[in-house]
């Protein structure tokens, strides 16, 4: 374990610094961004689609992130490695399954669906390719039977009733969160806290965002329990208050720290900034855990969280540069590494 922690410390040093992130944000355009990226550990990057450099770069950054996870997993003890692979692979697999379902729902071509997928190998399902080639959304759902995602099939009546994908997507989110929390049990007791906190924080904030979205108009008849199958620090009753309250401020304030701070931008309507604050809270959480124990699992988890934030930042910056956005507009949503 000590060896892997030492290696992870070295890898943390390879992550982009505050100055490097600022330099990339200052790039004039995508070409300048690519040339500035060459001076970082990412080096020269080859784009597989010149017509959409932002999308091609997103794939590059995902590949790099997955490569980082795999390298760490190779070094970690088996149980931790299995947990980490499961944690990230399942998250990405859920994203890919949602994209396949959306593609089938909208009758997108197989190629369109294929290029939209995160470049990972199947984790709990047999094959993405079979799903991409499936004749309909129902066929894809049938393929999920016998996998940990079988619960999706049970929500098909709701999908048919609303002719909408959200019952299936919410189920996938729930399955993912439950599986991660179950997998956490494999970890030694001391290491569970950091992961549990990350998962719970993320689920709670996403639940609040879903609740905020329900205010006023959508799915009036829907049971709140169905909408929030997994809740932790923010209870179903608090989520119900968020949906029904005339004034959101006292309800959000009542959620206490760290939710009140993370959800602060909700008053100005800048909901995207909430995600940035969530990333920042995760960043601060793993940083604090790391400083509490410099030689444990905390360091590995911190590295992976930093890497994921870096990936998200770079995806955003690349898109922003392709759109000609100014550094000021971009940096508002970027969690700049501290120190």
């Amino acid at each position: 374990m000590n060896y892997v922690v030492l290696r992870t410390h070295a890898r943390i040093a390879d992550l982009l610094t505050q100055e490097q992130m600022q330099t990339l944000a200052d790039a004039r355009d995508v070409d300048d961004f690519l040339s500035k990226l060459m001076d970082t550990p990412y080096g020269a990057v080859t784009l597989d689609d010149e017509s959409r450099p932002d999308i091609a770069l997103e794939r590059v950054f995902y590949r790099k992130f997955i490569e980082r996870i795999e390298k760490i997993v190779e070094l970690t003890p088996r149980k931790i490695g299995e947990f980490l692979m499961g944690y990230y692979q399942m998250r990405f697999e859920v994203v890919d399954l949602k994209r396949i379902l959306r593609g089938k729902y909208s009758d997108a071509s197989e190629e369109e669906i294929r290029v939209s997928l995160i470049p990972i190998s199947p984790y709990m399902v047999a094959s993405y390719e079979d799903m991409v080639e499936a004749g309909s959304l129902e066929d894809v759902v049938d393929m999920l039977r016998g996998t940990p995602y079988a619960g999706v099939a049970e929500r098909m009546p709701l999908y048919e009733e609303y002719d909408a994908l959200w019952p299936l997507e919410l189920t996938l989110n729930y399955i993912n969160a439950s599986a991660i929390l179950e997998a956490v049990k494999q970890l030694p007791t001391g290491d569970r806290r950091i992961v549990r906190k990350l998962v719970e924080l993320e689920t709670d904030v996403e639940n609040v965002l879903i609740a905020v979205k329900q205010r006023g108009h959508k799915h009036e008849a829907l049971d709140v329990e169905e909408l929030f199958p997994a809740t932790y620090g923010v209870t179903v009753s608090q989520l119900k208050d968020i949906i029904e309250a005339e004034n959101l401020r006292p309800v959000i304030q009542g959620l206490g720290s760290p939710y009140a701070e993370i959800l602060g931008p909700i008053y100005t309507g800048d909901v995207a900034l909430i995600r940035t604050y969530l990333r920042l809270a995760k960043y601060d959480h793993v940083t604090a855990s790391r400083s509490a124990d410099e030689y444990g699992f905390n360091v590995i988890m911190a590295y992976l969280v930093y890497s994921e934030i870096e990936k998200d930042n770079l995806v955003g910056l690349a898109w922003g540069k392709a759109q000609g956005l100014s550094p000021k507009e971009l940096l508002k949503y970027v969690v700049i590494p501290r120190g």
Partner: protein, 206 residues
């Protein structure tokens, strides 16, 4: 080449030319009236357009900021994937309408996209903002097109009036003058001839 080349200096032709120039002058007057009306319409429309644009630009900037925030929060692939789960599309029918004979497109909105998918909240906010101003964007595009067509027609009408006033009418006037001069000349010659014949007859009688 002179405008009088090939002109037959006959009374019939003169009457025909006078009839034609009367018709052209009346047409020119009508065109001038149309030009003035179009200019008036254009000035008013431009003021309205500026106002509408200013209002829409402010709202558009807000909508664009929301779309930008959604892209930065989710990444381009996720935004595109979620956008795919919106099944229905915007259906528009472009029909012709006319003002003072100027045809412009009128956009009839058939079906609007219905967002029934579980979009991420950032994308949902962005789609709501764009949805709110969808009608306004279409109406503004329609109005801009109308203004452009009016400006085009004003330019054409102005060129026609200028051509008639500065080229066609002066040419006709020149032709008429030429025929009248010719006819005057001919009648003077006829008078002199008659006088000479009359004088010769009188001297023969004496």
């Amino acid at each position: 080449m002179s405008s009088t080349a090939g002109v037959k200096p006959t009374k019939g032709f003169l009457m025909d030319m006078k009839r034609r120039i009367g018709f052209i002058e009346r047409g020119t007057e009508f065109l001038k009236l149309k030009r003035d009306q179009l200019a008036k319409e254009l000035t008013t429309s431009l003021d309205v357009l500026k106002g509408r644009r200013r209002v829409l630009m402010d709202i558009l900037q807000e909508a664009y900021a929301a779309v930008t925030a959604a892209y930065l929060s989710l990444g381009p692939q996720e935004v595109q994937s979620q956008a795919k789960s919106i099944k229905s599309v915007l259906e528009l029918e472009v029909l012709p309408r006319a003002v003072m004979g100027v045809r412009y497109p009128f956009v009839k909105i058939g079906e609007k996209p219905q967002v029934t998918a579980e979009l991420d909240i950032t994308l949902s906010v962005a789609s709501d903002r764009v949805y709110e101003i969808l009608d306004d964007i279409i109406r503004l595009a329609e109005f801009e097109s109308r203004v452009e067509r009016i400006a085009d027609e004003l330019g054409k009408t102005n060129r026609k009036v200028n051509a008639l006033e500065n080229i066609i009418i002066p040419e006709y006037k020149q032709i008429i003058k030429f025929i009248e001069d010719k006819l005057d000349e001919e009648s003077l010659e006829e008078l002199v001839r008659m006088k000479l014949i009359g004088g010769a007859k009188a001297s023969r009688r004496t």
